[in-house]
């Protein structure tokens, strides 16, 4: 059976924000699975800030996407052809399928999606890498204790919104940093944050000082740049800064802005620690079960921003993410 496979390949390494011309759209014929392989029809793609970092050359926690290669993306889909004993036709699966309608797989790093825990797009958000990143980054690296103050940046984004809600479950006081009054209202009124800092409206440093007068015990940073520098000046003694991302820097044309206030780590006997979620793979099931419980109990909420229109809309969806248009998890429906 012949299937047309629309896809985006990386055409150029972007300078600044990714432009449409950095990708090349193509329609190929979907491949046929060989022995031990299966073909996935991708239904949803996760649109993530980290995608921008995968487009750069150079050493990172994963190899860069090669020029000419299908753009990397996590997704969920269903098996439409199979010559693999463990992945029958009809199975719903998640994996790094790329920005394309059909993906060939040998089963490596592909998981079965348990729809009883939540519908497919949730497996790219709260039950996927967003939820796992929030869970392990906050609990294992940030180690918040009840009553402590947790600040999270990009708090209306997929990871940030979950970090704040998990911190509330853990009994912390939670302040989110986001852009604009709508997002800030969402954090406080719908997600139960104790306060919100609008980075588009006045000094982040002054707002954090007002909302967290005792200092910040855990800062979960998705943003970098000025926001990181501002929060560093407000650390409590023994604070933990969790480096999860640096979305403000991914599109920088002038190199990365390092945190010039890093000596506050010394002043406050504080630490700044990075992590990569793949290291926690042996504990993914444990975390996913807890996240699913909290979701079922209504203690975790996820707003999913579904963009319809298929593979063709990928460059636009990615630009929207960096323009800060979305609240919650951005998913492209194919």
């Amino acid at each position: 059976m012949s299937r047309t496979n629309p896809q985006y390949r990386l055409a150029a390494r972007p300078v600044g924000l990714p432009a449409a011309s950095d990708f090349r759209y193509a329609e190929e014929e979907a491949p046929q699975p060989g022995e031990g392989e299966f073909l996935v029809e991708v239904d949803f793609l996760s649109i993530d800030p980290a995608m921008r970092s995968w487009m750069n050359a150079g050493r990172s926690y994963v190899p860069p996407v090669a020029l000419g290669e299908v753009m990397r993306a996590a997704g969920t889909g269903h098996v439409v052809e199979s010559r693999h004993p463990d992945h029958p036709v009809g199975e719903v699966v998640s994996g790094t399928f790329g920005v394309q309608r059909y993906a060939l797989s040998d089963g490596k790093d592909v998981g079965t999606v348990d729809l009883s825990l939540g519908e497919a797009p949730l497996h790219l958000g709260v039950l996927g890498f967003s939820g796992l990143t929030a869970y392990f980054g906050l609990l294992d690296i940030g180690r918040p204790r009840p009553g402590q103050t947790v600040v999270v940046s990009a708090a209306a984004g997929s990871v940030g919104a979950l970090v704040g809600q998990i911190a509330k479950i853990e009994g912390c006081r939670v302040i989110g940093i986001a852009g604009g009054p709508d997002k800030c209202r969402h954090l406080v009124e719908e997600l139960g944050f104790d306060g919100a800092v609008d980075y588009k409206s006045g000094s982040v440093r002054a707002q954090v000082k007002e909302l967290a007068p005792q200092g910040v015990d855990v800062f979960f940073d998705n943003v970098g740049g000025d926001v990181l520098d501002d929060v560093l000046t407000r650390l409590a003694r023994g604070a933990r800064v969790v480096i999860s991302g640096a979305v403000s820097q991914y599109n920088s044309e002038h190199g990365v802005q390092g945190p010039s206030n890093y000596m506050q780590l010394l002043v406050n006997r504080a630490s700044m620690t990075g992590f990569v979620i793949f290291d926690y793979a042996p504990r993914f099931d444990e975390a996913r079960a807890r996240l699913a419980d909290w979701l079922r109990e209504g203690r975790l909420k996820e707003r999913t921003h579904v963009i319809s229109g298929g593979v063709e809309r990928f460059p636009e969806a990615l630009r929207g993410l960096f323009a800060g248009e979305n609240t919650g998890k951005t998913v492209l429906a194919l």
Copy 2:
């Protein structure tokens, strides 16, 4: 009895390198001890990079030296007058006596110097804050394991030279970063380092890569700036970066240069942690005993650079420190 007390007071907050005009020299009459006080005749002053940071306004781990105040300095001396029950005349003491010949004290934060462990200047170096900083910073924050690679910057300085030697005692491979062939030779030939990087001679990044091809497990940083950024690119997975100082930045007129490669903490699942030695006060005796043992056994060596000439030469001694003229501990003899 009347005693003349030569001293330096802070006259202006320096811009860049401290100039002689940032201090005001005065000769006052030494004060008389009241009830519960004693007068110390200061014999040796510790000349430290951190002095520069104490001269800036603004929040740090200690309050800044106020304009008009005697410049802060640690020193050793002997009691010449006493109305304090625990500190009799003749006792040898250490404390933060300031840049002056005579200091009045009520005994707070003053310790008795045990000359059986080593002569007085050593109590400002290996048996004083330099040794304690190296000991706790390396062992408690850096946590090196035998066989791991430890890199230390300002390695020919007082703290750095001790960090490297303690790391060798712990069974590590040790690379020092210093300026110029003489200092580098000293590290390898006299202090037993496994290798030395001359930051004045070619790329630090390339030299570290060559000397530590498996990556850096512990980086003890006294320097900041480009050196920190270079070493961040060479971290091993799970590395610990210990922030002990940032001597390259203390005199900066353009603000502090933050580490633009800080996302290497994420890539390498690494941490960057600051500490303040005063927090370890309850364990100072334990550490000092071990340091004295190692000193006696010849496993720790300290080169002391004694500048004679008295209080008057303080500004010059401080400038010499920042010019990188010294190897080992710099002490001003009064």
